[in-house]
């Protein structure tokens, strides 16, 4: 009696972990990023992505993921821009169908958000958020970085990797 029960429990646990390992959906966790033609930042952009976009992970290489968007576009995204979609173990239970996955919760504007910043700013006039906003306006295009690397014999144009 005991033996089959033990085996079925073991198989059950293995199935759970296999399913977890096969959960190949990743979600963009940063404000904006691009899907690229090749696994490097200055390769051609083929789609723009924003926080919360779900992507199907196809393969990985040197910290980059090859993914497919909902629209079917295939390209590369750096692994630091996404989180692996949390698989809801008990989603099969009907009462939990509506529960947001941990990943979705993490992506919602919870915790320290714009509203908390506004409230903090109202009390702390000395904190210079206007200067921070100007700092965020400093944008460097990947092609400028590419030219910089090339001229300085850096990265793939020199001794780096």
């Amino acid at each position: 009696m005991n033996r089959p029960v033990r085996w079925s429990a073991l198989v059950g646990v293995l199935v759970i972990f296999t399913v977890l390992l096969l959960a190949e959906t990743v979600v963009v966790k940063i404000q904006t990023t691009n899907l690229r033609n090749e696994p490097k930042f200055y390769s051609q952009t083929i789609a723009s992505l924003t926080a919360g976009s779900s992507l199907e992970k196809l393969s990985s290489q040197d910290g980059w993921f090859k993914v497919r968007t909902a629209a079917g576009v295939v390209g590369w995204i750096h692994s630091s821009a996404v989180e692996t979609k949390k698989f809801n173990l008990l989603a099969v239970d009907k009462s939990m169908k509506t529960q947001a996955s941990a990943g979705e919760v993490a992506l919602a504007a919870k915790g320290f958000n714009k509203q908390v910043e506004e409230n903090y700013k109202a009390k702390h006039g000395e904190a210079d958020f206007a200067a921070v906003d100007r700092m965020l306006q400093l944008k460097i295009s990947p092609s400028d970085v590419e030219a910089f690397l090339r001229k300085g014999k850096l990265g793939e144009f020199g001794g780096g990797k």
């Binding site: 429990a9 759970i16 972990f17 940063i30 529960q99 919870k110 958000n113 460097i140 020199g158 001794g159």
Partner: protein, 306 residues
């Protein structure tokens, strides 16, 4: 009679899986198992306790929260220092910093990496969570070539990448915050929750600013950032000896390096040089300093040199 044991195994597997799944899932799961009589209330409580403990570490802070914490820390840094207004030099530091960030372990952050030069003769560099990096005019002046500046930016990117700012937040703050946050995603808080969260936010910023600006990071974080700096700079193609050469200019508090952050506190430049040197010695291939970059550096910062 034996069956509950297997449910316990499954429940423990769920807790183990909390790294992969959400804690609220674990809690809901424990509740379901208890409701169906497959798990005792005592076991359920201990499982829920474990999953909550997993929530109260700094690594549970989301990318977006890190961004808002970083913005406020940067705003406080910018209330203490004036920005050095030089578009060309600022652009140079940003391209250089971005290039190094591409070869880091964390090239993408919620708001991206941004770099500013502070109008101060103090020799200092600071990085707020999420990628707001500052170097003083005094520090840029102290650099003799691009490798030195690249190594310092790589060290700061190391702090961001390893989330040292967030790690310096006292654990009690996060326990307080997670208590309020609960499990539901909310976009607007009511006045009471907002006041409480803002209070915690103030304390969180206090912890980080104390480490970053006043006392300096813990010794182990400085060493780790040096190691990461060596790694990121050399991956980009820079000679990582830029860091040792820079540190050597600071030995014994020479050149008025009584600044904050980088040099005021322990570890001393001498301690850091020893550790950096030995990690460079283990590298299979060490990139060389190239004159083309040294010339570019001299050209880019010439406004600072007398």
């Amino acid at each position: 009679m034996k069956a509950p044991k297997y449910w316990l195994i499954a429940a423990v597997a769920c807790v183990f899986g909390a790294g992969l799944t959400g804690c609220s899932v674990v809690q809901q799961g424990a509740k379901v198992l208890t409701d169906t009589g497959k798990l005792s209330e005592k076991d359920r409580d201990s499982i829920i306790k474990t999953s909550e403990a997993l929530r109260s570490t700094f690594s549970e802070i989301t990318e977006q929260e890190e961004y808002y914490i970083g913005r406020a820390v940067a705003a406080l840094i910018l209330s203490r220092y004036k920005v050095y207004d030089n578009g060309g030099m600022t652009n140079y530091v940003n391209v250089l910093g971005k290039a190094v960030s591409y070869s880091s372990d964390r090239p993408e952050t919620y708001g991206g990496y941004h770099f500013l030069i502070l109008d101060s003769d103090e020799v200092n560099a600071l990085a707020a969570p999420g990628g707001f990096v500052f170097v003083t005019k005094g520090l840029v002046k102290q650099c003799k070539d691009e490798e030195m500046l690249a190594s310092i930016l790589a060290h700061e990117i190391g702090h961001v990448s390893a989330k040292h700012g967030l790690a310096s937040i006292k654990k009690s703050r996060l326990v307080d915050a997670f208590k309020i946050l609960g499990k539901e995603a909310t976009t607007r808080y009511g006045p009471k929750e907002l006041a409480e969260l803002t209070g915690i936010f103030e304390n969180v910023l206090g912890d980080i600013v104390e480490s970053l600006v006043e006392k300096g990071y813990d010794r182990k974080y400085e060493y780790e950032a040096d190691q990461l700096g060596v790694k990121f700079a050399s991956r980009t193609g820079y000679d990582p000896n830029g860091l040792t050469r820079f540190l050597k200019t600071m030995v014994g508090g020479a050149s008025g390096a009584s600044g904050k952050g980088w040099f005021r506190t322990h570890p001393t430049a001498e301690d850091r040089i020893g550790k950096v040197d030995s990690s460079i010695r283990t590298m299979a291939m060490v990139p060389k300093t190239l004159p083309v970059r040294t010339e570019r550096f001299a050209q880019s910062v010439k406004g600072l040199k007398p």
